[in-house]
Symmetry: C2
Subunit: 341 residues, 2 copies
DNA sequence: GTGAAAGCGCTAACAT
DNA sequence: ATGTTAGCGCTTTCAC
């Protein structure tokens, strides 16, 4: 069933059918109705490839997800998928490992799939202009920004929280309660991405509260995975350096860490307070409920798509959006033992 | 940069370039090398739409996900995405709500995007042949089957566990420990899908162990979401009907239920045992670790794609695959209080 | 082994 | 308001 068949069925020309299909105004109501009826009756669906070929612009928006292990992304993906859909575009999703290059991947997809735009979910924060050159369609970095780079606001769009500041707030909170021996559980301390940003926020908070940082209190899990976080926490405890609180860069890792602490005989928060960043819905249902800095994940996804479509459809240029994170108090934080509270 | 440009660059015809690009044998080594070189140098990427248009078959495989709230799907999606990718296809993902019709959605996508095949992740188990007619490409039902329908193994492909039997095993285990008052937390009892299947397994297990089912012990959350599960569990407790154990159709719901029980002053498993179905990795990190029937999610995703590609590429017809679920012992189950153990 | 040419289904001038 | 027609970039006969 092609546009020709519909045209023949209605006794009109293909261009008239095309006009109806594309909601052009210059068609008489009678003809329009007849065509619409024929389309309905014959279950005709336009051939997308042909439309894309001739208009040399598709309806595909790419989603490049880096590091699927983080459950924080699933909510965002849901929202992004829905938003793209509602706007009448098609989402083409690609996942890559944390060692692959998202820009490279996006560049290839852009050409192969004729993408109109790209959402990068998770990535490095140190892009250079040079590196970004292969990407020629609008794109937006969702959940991270260019903190380690020096790209102007006109060079890329980002929607994120201030990761350094968020970590800073979390750790400051621990300090305010009297904690001085505060461990950090990160993925890496120098990956030029979110883990490093939050780690730096941790260091800055310690410094501002006059706490000497202790390398023995920094645990690198190597990923955002549960297993790695569990192992790293046990090793941290086994290391023997005492601490009364932990700052953890992701909720999922924190859940594993709490388990590790308890398996080592340390009760949370009595023996060790735990504060994290992300604000997974699930974190409110574990025991103890996790104290965490919530990222507005739904909004993050929705705004990313909104900005992207604004660019695609020419309504605006690049934009940077920094959303507020917000403390969600749980039961995993308490003053250190023996503190005069 | 089009195929014409490459042809001009090499001083050959477009058909020769096409042959090289498509790895046809009838090209002289010298010409092939020259073309390949030109392609590389000019960063030429074939226009996918044109290829699809002319060959009327794309490289797109659809993934229709129904009910994103279930975190059980995230692992599967990851695997499905990777598998599709590795096979050289493109994944086009679409999410729909639990009230939308996945078949309808698949049918539209099939035509619009010229899909080669479809993976349905989650759906009803009562498809009829009539209903399936709009789908003309190979498809596979991942994580569910046709238990409520009567379609022969030649009419559709499925990869799933035996949901009824899995629930039966879980509940039998509770019975074997001496539990007689066993509550069930489901999404719906009559949705012709997984929730109903597992609910039926629960009923069957009760019957086989001589336990009278009590409607007051069945809580319908209305979804797989955490909040609904939490609320439904609290209402169940508030209802006043006593019970010493709960069977819960999904890990995520169980996590919320455990919290609800504890918030009502009931300790798990001392006051109430909890057993679930899914086997999320996370369930091993909560307190108490969840006793659950593990679905082999990775395998489920991988096999679904394998079967789909086998069909797409004509290596086989429809197939049904029932994978084994497996008990993962946790700390959330114990004999009822006062049981002579 | 290579080239010429006919479309694939559609949109967008350009006519009328 | 409607029809005619020329491609979009590619694959694929069919000649040579």
């Amino acid at each position: 069933m092609t546009i020709k068949d519909i045209a023949r069925l209605c006794g009109v020309s293909v261009s008239t059918v095309s006009r109806v299909i594309n909601d052009r105004p210059d068609v008489s109501p009678a003809v329009r109705a007849a065509v619409l009826e024929a389309v309905r009756k014959s279950n005709y669906i336009p051939n997308n490839s042909a439309r894309v070929l001739v208009s040399s612009s598709s309806d595909a928006v790419g989603l490049v997800v880096r590091g699927l292990s983080n459950p924080f992304y699933s909510d965002i993906i849901k929202v992004i998928g829905r938003s793209i859909d509602e706007a009448g575009y098609t989402m083409v999703m690609q996942q890559i490992g944390s060692r692959e290059d998202e820009i490279q991947c996006g560049a290839v997809m852009e050409r192969e799939k004729k993408l109109r735009g790209i959402v990068f979910l998770g990535g490095r924060s140190d892009y250079t202009a040079e590196e970004l050159r292969p990407i020629t369609v609008p794109f937006v970095c969702c959940s991270y920004d260019n903190s380690f780079g020096s790209l102007g606001a006109d060079r890329l769009s980002t929607v994120s929280i201030d990761d350094g500041q968020t970590a800073y707030s979390a750790v400051s909170r621990l300090c305010a309660l009297g904690h001085r021996r505060i461990a950090a559980l990160v993925s890496e301390t120098d990956d030029r991405s979110i883990s490093e940003l939050r780690y730096r926020g941790y260091l800055r908070a310690l410094a501002d509260h006059g706490v000497e940082p202790d390398p023995a209190l920094v645990a690198c899990a190597g990923s955002f995975g549960l297993e790695d976080a569990y192992r790293a926490t046990r090793e941290l405890v086994a290391g023997g350096a005492g601490f009364s609180a932990m700052f953890i860069i992701a909720d999922a890792m924190a859940i594993a860490a709490v388990k590790a602490l308890e398996d080592c005989g340390r009760e949370v928060p009595r023996d060790c307070s735990v504060i994290a960043v992300d604000g997974l819905p699930l974190s409110q249902y574990i025991h103890p409920t996790l104290t965490t800095m919530c990222q507005p994940s739904e909004r993050m996804g929705a705004e990313s798509v909104r900005i992207l479509l604004d660019m695609i459809e020419g309504r605006s240029g690049n934009r940077r959006l920094v959303l507020e994170s917000e403390l969600r108090g749980g039961a995993s934080v308490a003053p250190p033992r023996g503190a005069a509270d």
